[in-house]
Amino acid sequence: MIRLSWLQFRAQAVTAAAALSAAAVILAATSPHRGVNAGFYHWLYMAGIMVLYLTPAMIGSFWGAPLISRELEAGTYRLAWTQSVTRTRWLAVKLGLGCLVSIATAGLLSLMITWWGSPIDQLNDSRLSPLTFGARDLTPVGYAAFAFALGVTIGLLLRRAVPAIAVTLAAFAAVQVAVPLAVRPYLIPPVRTVSPLTTSNITGTGDGGPGAPGVGGQPGPNLALGAKVDIPGAWVYSVQFTLPGGSTNLGPEPQACISGSGNACDTALARLHLRQVVTYQPASRYWAFQFAETGLYLLLALLLTGFCIWRVKLRS
């Protein structure tokens, strides 16, 4: 069965190998390890991230979705299921092999692009930022495995290849948007630090909250602040400012900040003894997040695989 699956999946594997080789040549030729030149490299850097996001989507829709649906559509499942191999084994091997090739493809591509982008990542210190995080190291592997299993499942349910491809693409895109927004932030509880706000970190002030802005040059009821957060590489969820008692109601914006000089404003603010409350994920948790998110996607892929096998078995 493995040999048959390989025979049927060979074309895809060859395509993947060719694409990977091409990517390797391009990346090696343009390696920023030799010195970074901003303009062109920024473009390539973003392109690399895009490719790593697109690859799992393509794997899911063009490898996963047609895998079973094409057999159901063309009726060849009737040929396959009446050989001396149970259909669960047939499905398990097809899924397993496809998943393996998908993982290998995404993994190798991620390895190359992560290596290529590492100098820029270090400069930007942005590995945990939602955009880069999903295009580095392990996560593309989890995405690819999940996308493949998702495509197979949708193909099995829709029984037709073209709709399955379209639905897989849409469903995977939805998951890729939903996870960084609604799931990833809760994988590990964030760190919350409270520190005195030094005036040198303040980048601006203004009115905020209800009743703002102040009318006719009068201060508004709530002081709003902008401030730098100085935690290298952190993924910052939120920054809040409180009074020493913990209240977030900072009172009206000091008059000095509206009409006075910068120094006068700083002095006025310093008198408030403001605290800065930062909720964030420190850069040191990068690998924990990588493992957690990849694990989550692999688990989902496994659940989908189980569902597919159960579903195919049910028909017997």
Binding site: M1, R3, L4, L7, Q8, A74, G75, T76, R78, L79, W81, T82, Q83, S84, V85, T86, R87, R89, L314, R315, S316
Partner: protein, 297 residues
């Protein structure tokens, strides 16, 4: 000697429509069974149930004494050629033979190569570019080289021209002669099956109308023609399958286990085709009180 297919109260529904109902059947070993019925009568459903491609909604079915598709061993004993003989269009003929060899422990490679040679199939040709007849032959080769004890064929000749049809049946019968394989093949045309079948199942509107050995069926049916007469006046034991009347004449097709002695009738034997057509005609629905020949009750 067990039955190759034994079904009891077998039924299959798709959503709310019954594709097959109350099917009770015992097909003995060593026969070439013709499964005849109009399109949509449930032939494909019955064959797919026997091949284990679908599961029954009601009742039970055993094939060669085991649940269909119960495991690799059971699968190896049953060959199946699906309707429209699906093949992998992008794979070559040789790839298909390799597929067969990889997936079937009992694969008879010399048989497969001999047959493809006889058929003049180019091993390097893609299956998608084969003619309908060649594709059917390739599918049959795959099923035969698996060396099954029972071969299920779903309308294998329906889409073939007469020459390819004859050739297909010839190859099939040779295999039956050589290996003693039991065969069940379906068709909506009895003429396809008349030469090759020695057991017949007539399926109409998702129910079995009649089943039995062809020689028994032929022996048990007679066409009677004579002066006009009410069929209800026939003696017990003579069941009317089909009747037609003119002003002066009555023509009946009856099932009877006894010879017909009534001198008023001209008695002639019936051909298999007449018999099947009489059973297939929806106007000739048998009232439920009359038992159906050959059915295990």
């Amino acid at each position: 000697m067990g039955g190759v297919i034994e079904a009891s109260g077998l039924g299959k529904a798709y959503r709310r429509t019954w594709a097959l109902r109350d099917c009770t059947l015992a097909v003995p070993e060593g026969h070439v069974v013709g499964l005849v019925g109009p399109n949509g009568a449930g032939k494909t459903t019955l064959l797919q149930l026997a091949a284990g491609l679908i599961a029954p909604t009601r009742g039970t079915i055993t094939v060669l004494g085991d649940r269909p598709a119960a495991g690799p061993a059971q699968l190896a004993r049953v060959g199946f050629v699906a309707q429209d003989t699906p093949v992998y269009t992008r794979m070559t003929v040789a790839d298909h033979l390799r597929l067969g060899a990889w997936l079937n422990p009992g694969w008879d490679d010399s048989l497969a190569r001999r047959r493809t040679g006889q058929l003049g199939l180019d091993p390097k040709q893609r299956a998608g570019s084969l003619s309908g007849g060649q594709r059917a032959q390739l599918a049959l080769t795959l099923a035969l080289a698996k060396r099954p004890e029972l071969l299920l064929l779903d309308e294998p000749v329906a889409s073939l021209d007469p020459l390819a049809r004859r050739e297909f049946l010839r190859m099939l019968m040779e295999a039956v002669a050589e290996h003693g394989t039991s065969v069940v093949l379906s068709s909506h045309l009895v003429a396809d099956l008349e030469r090759v079948c020695d057991y017949l199942i007539v399926l109409v509107a998702s129910k079995i109308r009649v089943a039995g050995e062809v020689s028994d069926l032929l022996a048990a049916h007679r066409r009677l023609s004579g002066p006009r007469r009410d069929p209800d006046t026939l003696p017990a034991g003579q069941d009317v399958i089909e009747e037609s009347h003119t002003d002066k004449q009555t023509s009946l097709l009856v099932r009877t286990s006894e010879p017909v002695h009534d001198p008023a009738w001209a008695v002639t034997p019936v051909s298999l085709e007449d018999l099947v057509l009489a059973y297939m005609n929806p106007a000739n629905e048998i009232p439920a009180r009359k038992p159906q020949l050959g059915l295990v009750s």
